[in-house]
């Protein structure tokens, strides 16, 4: 063991800066928040031990349960839509005869490099109720005013639309990379055997895209469970608690109500959910 260490000591030395920084800014906060989750702490002043009280309170917190429900709602709809859009659009980009591919790819990717705050502010203007751009366009095709941001039914779709706009391009690029890694020979062989385009897509493209789709789904899941900016700017979690996501509620509890202990326990529960959701997805999508 020691001999082995000696052999690689310079290598260890060279990779150590990352681990030192990770220990300070990664592991230490993780452990400290575990400690805080069993205490009551207001940001300054005394830290008092409360045992499992934070976790127990969490299970009688109606807002927390509403946040779970909202997050699941957004998660299921957003993940399905973003994957469907990304796969369709990426397949189109992958067609041989599409011109200006680079330009399209750049345009679709641009939303991801813009700041979420700026995007949300623009969507805030688009989603205005009686004077919003979207409602104006809808009124031209005889759809009456939709109160996007202040109604229980439409506030979640408004947030999903904003997220879709932002993240579809990113997923297109990933799926496209997946598509291009599929061996052309397989398509050729299928075509020679007389397979229809439909069959080729479902029997060759999709199965071979699985690892990439899994990756997109897992990354998307983590994003949704931490989702904060869109509801924070568009609706502040309202109306009522209709768009309070787990990320937003966590932020409110820890940084607005300054209950850092309670917030830490919530963070641990959310981490548990993300883990669970990711495992389920990896299992579902990667089963043979």
């Amino acid at each position: 063991m020691l001999k082995k260490f000696n052999k690689y000591k310079y290598a260890y030395l060279f990779i150590s800066p990352f681990y030192i920084l990770f220990a300070i800014f990664g592991i230490y906060p993780i452990i400290y928040s575990l400690y805080l989750s069993f205490n009551s702490f207001k940001g300054m002043g005394p830290i008092t031990f409360v045992g499992f009280k934070n976790y127990i309170n969490l299970f009688s917190d109606t807002v927390f349960f509403a946040a779970i429900k909202n997050t699941l709602y957004i998660w299921i709809i957003y993940i399905s839509l973003v994957l469907i859009f990304a796969i369709i659009l990426a397949s189109i980009f992958n067609l041989g005869y599409i011109k200006l591919k680079g330009l399209f790819r750049t345009i679709y990717f641009i939303p991801i490099v813009t700041s979420t705050v700026a995007v949300s502010l623009v969507f805030l203007i688009i989603f205005q109720n009686e004077r919003g751009l979207l409602n104006f366009i809808l009124s031209k095709i005889n759809i009456s005013n939709i109160n996007w941001l202040n109604s229980y039914e439409w506030s979640k779709p408004a947030i999903i639309i904003t997220m879709l706009w932002r993240w579809t391009g990113y997923n297109i690029i990933l799926i496209l990379a997946g598509l291009q890694s599929i061996n052309e020979d397989l398509y050729e062989a299928a075509r020679i055997d007389g397979a229809s385009t439909f069959n080729i897509f479902f029997k060759i493209t999709l199965p071979l895209l699985r690892p990439m789709i899994t990756f997109c789904a897992v990354v998307g899941t983590i994003d949704v469970f931490q989702q904060f900016t869109e509801p924070y700017i568009l609706t502040q979690g309202g109306p009522g608690v209709a768009t309070t996501t787990l990320g937003l509620y966590l932020y409110n509890v820890a940084f607005k109500y300054s209950k850092l202990g309670y917030g830490s326990s919530m963070a641990y529960i959310i981490t548990f959910f993300v883990l669970l959701a990711s495992i389920v997805q990896i299992r579902l999508l990667n089963r043979e």
Binding site: G45, R131, P239, K256
Partner: protein, 454 residues
Amino acid sequence: MKKSLYWLLIVIMIVAVITTIGTIGIVGCKKEAAEETTAAETTTEETTAAAELQPNTELSGTISIWTFEPYVTAWQDGRFNKIYPNIKLDITGVDYPDSHTKFLSAAAAGEGLPDIMMTVTPLIVPYASIGALVDLTSIVASYMDKVPQWAWDLDSYQDKVYAVPFDSGPSVLFYRSDIFQSAEIDPNSIQTWSDWFEAGKKIYEATNGKTKLLCMTRSGAMDWAGEAIGLQIMQQIGSGVYDKDGKIIIDNPENVEVLKFLKEVLDSGICLEESYWTPGNYSAMEDGSVATVPQGSWMGGYIKMIAPKSQGKWNAMLLPAWSSGGSRYSNNGGSFLAITTQSKNQELAWKFIEWELLTKDTTLFDLKNFDKWPLLKEDWTDPLIDEPDSFFTNNQAVRKLYVDVATNVTPLYFGPNWPEAYVTVQQVMTDYFNGKMSPEDALKTVAEKLSTIE
């Protein structure tokens, strides 16, 4: 050659690691030092008005300030430095509510707070209770009579004063005089909130639905950070969310009637459902889509900023009363300046606060230029109060109205957990205004939820 290159790389790396560790060590030490200065006594000699006319060159240093108001230009244009040429101001604009989260993380880190912190009224007690603000009781003693007692009450925690009032928001009813005139409504006929509602219906009919009564949303009507119409009415009838001692009074039966009234207004279709601080709201103020704005005096300043083209079309009057002959006074909004316990320049910081908030010359300057409503009582009798304001129809001297309200108002009390309390109130009330529960149930639910906040 190869070996020496090896060693060079290792040396560079070791230096890098040591620097990293060193930085962390320094941060740690600073944190300890910052904690030690907690509650350090600030001593200041009495400053007389005469002394302030002479530039004070003895005091020197830099004070950092976080502010969420645009008034900073007044400080930056050098007026403060004419009196204290050697005190440098380091001003950071921090949006409210970002200032709150920024404050909490800096307080928790033990470093990074400014010398002077601007905050809204309900946050003084939470901040003071965690030991983040300096006790100013002995320093402000000589100013106790110069500022209304209720303002001192709001910034006190356990009978100690922790902040100095920056501004307040005596509520009035801003209305479009041009629209009132064309709809043939006499503002003097609006005595109660139901008169106001009737006037709204009349305006709506007279303009064929083009002009609505006000901007009010189902999520903002009882939101302290939103339109807060409900809270202003409750204040008029001596009710609210908490009483002066922090007891929950929101389930007060009188509040049921207020909620019923507001829902009726919302359901009547004469409200423009655009939230405050959104573009839809701004343009409505300018193009005459809404006829009234019941709000604190600061809204007068905002209307000038967001709806400059509506100049000369606005007037202000006392808020309607809840019942005929009842109080027409209310207050919505208010900020404070406080010195943080992390400050190393508490004496200089106090000089700034004294100059900015407790000097007649400065407060009048801010009132004139930025519509910052002063709480220095001697300002309220200054000739500036009677000066006409050209933004309003017939150059109405609106400040006289504000003085009337500010003198007679009783404040809204916030209790010790306002950041969580007001969000709770807002959430449940949104459910109520959307028809998900009865007003009685809504108030009962809020009261129960508030009682579990710890």
